[in-house]
């Protein structure tokens, strides 16, 4: 028998860590989604530089800077000392994923806005240019970006991937939280981000062929995501006592039901099956599956963020 006591009752830490609340998973979700949007938009641009696409698809890249702003608002809301946020940009900390993240975010803005600009339907773009005529240098900028679309697209793919991976690496490098401490979390969050990005796009009025393509890609992504989830959990199960205790939070512990129903069943398996059926019957992919993917993506981050805080080494301290 082990009986332990501690006099410590620090808020947010005891009896178990609960420092991050809804703001962080919402940010991670939006960050992942934006990553997906940027990568897909970039790939599409490279694949189809002459833009023979639906109007919705041409406008969608604008969602990236908008959503990342919303995401950053949540991130800022999470800061206990929000007015010191400028400190992120007074340094670059090589070992800090969060520092990488803040600089990546700084790149995400110009890259995604410029790609959105060049993707914008020509009629709209001309009208905007006419209205913004007095802004100096805009014409030159427009000319420059129009000439460098492939470069911009590549930049979006790279920054998007970085953004997607970093949201996972941020948690994955936390050796102190065994549930998070896995190299798989980076790729997992990236793939999940791509998948939510694709799902987000499917909410709009795209052409049938565009939707079918996205849905096919999404099926692949969901399959990879399931595989990565399995690898992540196998890794934890094969780890030490702390890892297994971490895994327990979603396998028998408090987050089990939420994880298996919201993330696995509703967020991954149902849309996978749905998309597969639509595919088999050459039906237009429905918005419902897309919504489920988005819900699943949010739930994945929500549960991992919350459950991970529940996992720790400290419980091990007793048993020495």
């Amino acid at each position: 028998m082990q009986e332990t006591t501690s006099t410590r009752v620090n808020a947010l830490i005891d009896p178990s860590m609960h420092i991050w609340h809804y703001e962080v998973p919402v940010y991670l979700f939006l960050g992942g989604l934006v990553a997906g949007l940027m990568v897909i938009a970039g790939l599409w641009t490279l694949r189809d530089p002459d833009r023979p696409r639906s109007r919705a698809l041409q406008l969608l890249p604008w969602a990236a800077p908008v959503l990342i702003s919303v995401g950053m608002l949540f991130l800022w809301l999470d800061l206990e000392n929000p007015f010191n946020a400028f400190r992120f940009y007074f340094t670059f900390e090589l070992t800090s994923p969060m520092s990488w993240g803040s600089w990546i975010l700084l790149g995400v803005y110009p890259a995604s806005i410029l790609l959105a600009w060049v993707s914008t339907p020509t009629d709209l773009r001309d009208r905007w240019l006419a209205r913004l005529e007095r802004v100096p240098g805009l014409g030159r900028l427009d000319a420059w970006v129009s000439a460098h679309v492939p470069l911009l697209a590549t930049l979006n793919i790279l920054l998007g991937a970085a953004l997607g991976i970093y949201t996972g690496v941020l948690l994955g490098t936390m050796a102190a939280r065994p549930l998070w401490n896995s190299a798989i979390l980076g790729p997992l969050f990236l793939v999940s981000g791509l998948s939510t990005g694709a799902a987000f796009m499917m909410l709009y009025r795209l052409e049938r062929r565009e939707k079918e393509l996205l849905s096919r890609v999404d099926m692949g992504l969901i399959s990879v995501e399931l595989l990565l989830l399995a690898l992540w959990m196998i890794g934890l199960a094969a780890g030490g006592a702390a890892s297994r205790a971490g895994l327990h939070t979603i396998m028998g512990g408090p987050y089990t039901a939420a994880f298996w129903t919201l993330v696995v069943a509703l967020g991954l398996l149902t849309p996978l099956v749905g998309e597969w059926i639509e595919h088999r019957h050459s039906a237009v992919p429905a918005r419902l599956t897309a919504v489920l993917v988005l819900v699943g993506g949010l739930a994945l981050r929500w549960i991992i963020v919350y459950a991970g805080q529940h996992s720790g080494w400290v419980s091990d301290l007793a048993s020495r």
């Binding site: 009986e3 006099t7 206990e80 007015f83 010191n84 340094t91």
Partner: protein
């Protein structure tokens, strides 16, 4: 660099201030990382001594911008040696307790109603003086009783003695260490006193009978205890509970509560039987060895086993360990020893065991203390009291009780208990009687019969709510007191100094006593201007330098020889001049001349009940600190310790809240969480004393945890000296969920008509 302390309103509310705060502190960030200084070092450091308990450790109080920022140990002080216990370190929590008494008050409704009016000192003292004089005129001076605990009480004792009453009681006698002093005095001709002359640090074998050092945080004893551990002393702890001390011991003897005397007798049986005792010492100094040897013959370890639950083999081996280390074997006399009503005899047994081991006056046993000669202040002599103390039914009762019994003085206020109730008025200084004297219903009954009750306190404790006049005292950090001149390892004098001026409208005790003295016609007993002049007069009479005293807080004298082997004179102030193993005095009074143990007198808990035991939490002193927000950060509420098997039988979960109800149907006012533990015997439960506070104006601690004292509706009085054995109650559990909450949880009216403080 000063800590930036802007307040974040809901995170972002104070945006303006926050931006300013964030941007003005080196926002450009090109600087390095300067070491931040919390800035708690004082611009003045005042030496004084502590009053968070009664041990009186020397402190250094840091004052910055008029605020006491922190309190440290005074390295020059021989009790603290520069270290403090948590309570001493948390004294600012008392000084800045927002619930402190702030103004003199007079009651304006029935007793206990807590309806008070703030008045001037002049009015309050006028009412007190008027009542003292009226009651003296009607019933004699002895009709006024003083209950006093704490060092500031010296002024009140002086006042009440001058007034002419012998009824001056302290609960630290009959509810605490009285039996020990009597038991040791009977044996060695001297008590162990306070601070005890135990040479713990040099002991090679240390025996603790319930003394829960480490939870009982008497600073020097704990320092010495750590030394004993470091010296790898053989430590034997006898306790029904796995105390912190037990966890540091080589031997833990989880004795059946109430049977310690049987164990002590069996130890003596082995020590004499196996000739482990100090023959030379006994021959030289002791009287009655033959009788003792004969007496303990029957008390074999096999005899003790079924009584104590301690296996014969363990008894023998521990006895041999004691014998092997003698005379550096200290069987600690304990301090709070009023347990079962046979406590003087148990203390005697401890004293006898020490005598056999030759530890009195020896290194690692009991050192010979010394004291600085400090002449008393010259007063006119006190008049002989006009009556005997009213603390016992007949003057011949409790014949060896050499101090006034607090519970007896309490009873003497109740009609029919002492003829036509002898006591009409109480003055209570620093003692919270409803949580201190057993059977609080009885205490409330006595209070209701009083003509007058005045309380001097620092907090709105239970007793305050029942008083007619409340006098708010300045805390120990805001006042000077009597000089401290203990008998100790080395002689010294310490001074309590005003660290900061009194807050609110509080006043030091010496001022109250003097003002009252003047008003009741005793000015000649208060000739000094203030306590500083008083102290100076005494110090100068002793040839001690007042300036040094002020600067250092203590003046140390030259230590005398500490042990017989170093030249200390073996003197025993008993009738025979020897260590009395056999006590002719006890025999003459009709008591057992040597301790015996009668197992048939030990009550067993009824089915489903458990013996209620209680003790200390290291961060608190009784209830006097449980409202201290700083100390309470570490320990907020007491728990009910329940043996794991018992909890399983009851289906009690760790942390589940229960009420306790005792054998007489008395239920605790409040509930406390259960601590399911292997650290206690299955036949007992344990709580830390000082919780379950009913006083509504102790806003922080009110209603937290369980008060052991409420459940002590029975006690056994020690026939030799009148101590109240309080470990004789049994309790059962009531799940908090099953207790109907509409019953009043408070046994005193809680009509809070106005705040105590304006």
């Amino acid at each position: 660099m000063k800590r930036r302390q802007f307040i974040r309103v809901g995170g972002y509310g104070a945006a303006g201030a926050a931006v300013a705060g964030g941007l003005t502190t080196d926002w450009y960030g090109r600087y390095g990382n300067p070491t931040a200084d919390p800035g708690t070092d004082g611009d003045r450091v005042v030496p004084s001594f502590c009053e968070l308990c009664f041990w009186k450790c020397g402190i250094l109080a840091h004052v910055k911008d008029g605020r006491v920022t922190k309190i440290k140990g005074n390295p020059k002080d021989p009790l603290s040696n520069g270290h403090l216990c948590p309570r001493g370190a948390g004294g600012t929590g008392l000084l800045y307790d927002p619930d402190r008494l702030k103004k003199p008050m007079i009651r304006r409704d029935v007793r206990g109603s807590q309806v008070f009016e703030d008045v001037s000192w002049d009015d309050a003292l006028g009412v007190v003086a008027e009542n003292f004089e009226r009651i003296k005129a009607e019933h004699g001076a002895a009709a006024l009783a003083l209950f006093s605990h704490g060092y500031g009480g010296s002024w009140m004792k002086h006042l009440v003695k001058a007034h002419g009453s012998p009824n001056i009681a302290a609960p630290s006698y009959a509810q605490c260490r009285g039996p020990r002093e009597v038991g040791f005095d009977l044996t060695f001709g001297a008590g162990v006193g306070s601070p005890e002359n135990t040479d713990i640090r040099n002991a090679r074998c240390l025996v603790l009978i319930g003394s829960h050092l480490g939870e009982n945080m008497h600073n020097t004893q704990v320092q010495d205890f750590a030394d004993a551990i470091r010296n790898e002393a053989d430590i034997i702890t006898v306790d029904p509970r796995y105390s912190v001390a037990a966890s540091k011991s080589r031997w833990w003897l989880p004795i059946k509560p109430g049977t310690d005397t049987a164990l002590l007798l069996a130890w003596m049986n082995v020590i004499i039987g196996e000739e482990l005792y100090d023959r030379d010492y006994i021959e030289r100094y002791a009287y009655g060895f033959e009788q003792l040897a004969e007496h303990v013959k029957a008390f074999t370890p096999e005899w003790a086993y079924p009584r104590t639950g301690i296996e014969p083999d363990v008894i023998r081996r521990t006895a041999r360990a004691m014998g092997a280390a003698r005379p550096a074997t200290l069987v600690h006399p304990g301090r709070h020893v009023t347990w079962y009503g046979d406590d003087t005899q148990r203390s005697r047994a401890i004293a006898l065991l020490n005598a056999l081991l030759g530890s009195w006056g020896r290194k690692g046993g009991f050192f010979v203390p010394s004291q600085i000669q400090l002449p008393p202040y010259e007063y006119p002599g006190y008049l002989k009291p006009d009556a005997q103390a009213a603390d016992r039914p007949a003057p011949s009762d409790y014949p060896l009780g050499d101090q006034v019994l607090a519970q007896g003085v309490c009873d003497a206020a109740i009609t029919g208990v002492r003829g036509d109730s002898a006591i009409k008025a109480w003055m209570v200084y620093g003692s919270n009687l409803p949580t201190t004297l057993p059977d609080p219903e009885n205490t409330y009954k006595a209070i209701q019969e009083l003509d007058f009750l005045v309380t001097v306190d620092v907090l709105p404790a239970e007793i305050v709510g029942w008083s007619d006049v409340v006098l708010p005292e300045a805390t120990y950090l805001e006042r000077c007191d009597e000089l401290y001149n203990p008998w100790w390892r080395e002689p010294y004098v310490a001074v309590r100094q005003e660290v900061v001026p009194p807050m609110y409208d509080s006043k030091p005790g010496w001022w109250m006593a003097r003002e009252l003295g003047k008003r009741i016609g005793l000015p000649e007993f208060f000739p000094w201007k203030d306590s500083i002049e008083y102290a100076k007069t005494r110090l100068e009479a002793a040839g001690l330098d007042c300036e040094v005293m002020k600067e250092q807080g203590v003046i140390r004298g030259k230590p005398g020889p500490l042990y017989f082997e170093e030249g200390a004179v073996p003197e025993f102030y008993t009738d025979s001049g020897k260590i009395e193993l056999y006590s002719p005095k006890l025999a003459a009074l009709g008591f057992d001349p040597m301790p015996t143990y009668d197992h048939s007198k030990l009550e067993e808990p009824p089915e489903g009940y458990y013996r209620l035991l209680f003790g200390r939490a290291p961060v608190h002193t009784f209830g006097r600190t449980t409202n201290n927000r700083l100390l309470s950060e570490v320990y907020r509420e007491n728990e009910v310790w329940v043996n794991r098997d018992v909890a399983r039988r009851w289906g009690l979960e760790d942390g589940e809240r229960v009420y306790l109800q005792n054998q007489d149907g008395k239920r605790s006012s409040f509930s406390a969480p259960v601590k399911v533990t292997g650290r206690i015997r299955p036949d007992a439960v344990y709580v830390v004393h000082g919780y379950g506070r009913r006083a509504p104006k102790l806003r922080f601690v009110h209603g937290k945890g369980i008060d052991d004292n409420e459940l002590i509706t029975r006690y056994k009085v020690d026939p030799i000296m009148g101590g109240t054995g309080m470990n004789v109650n049994f309790v059962t559990f009531l799940r908090a969920a099953d207790v109907v909450e509409d019953e009043p949880a408070v046994d005193e009216p809680v009509v809070v008509a106005e705040e105590v403080v304006a």
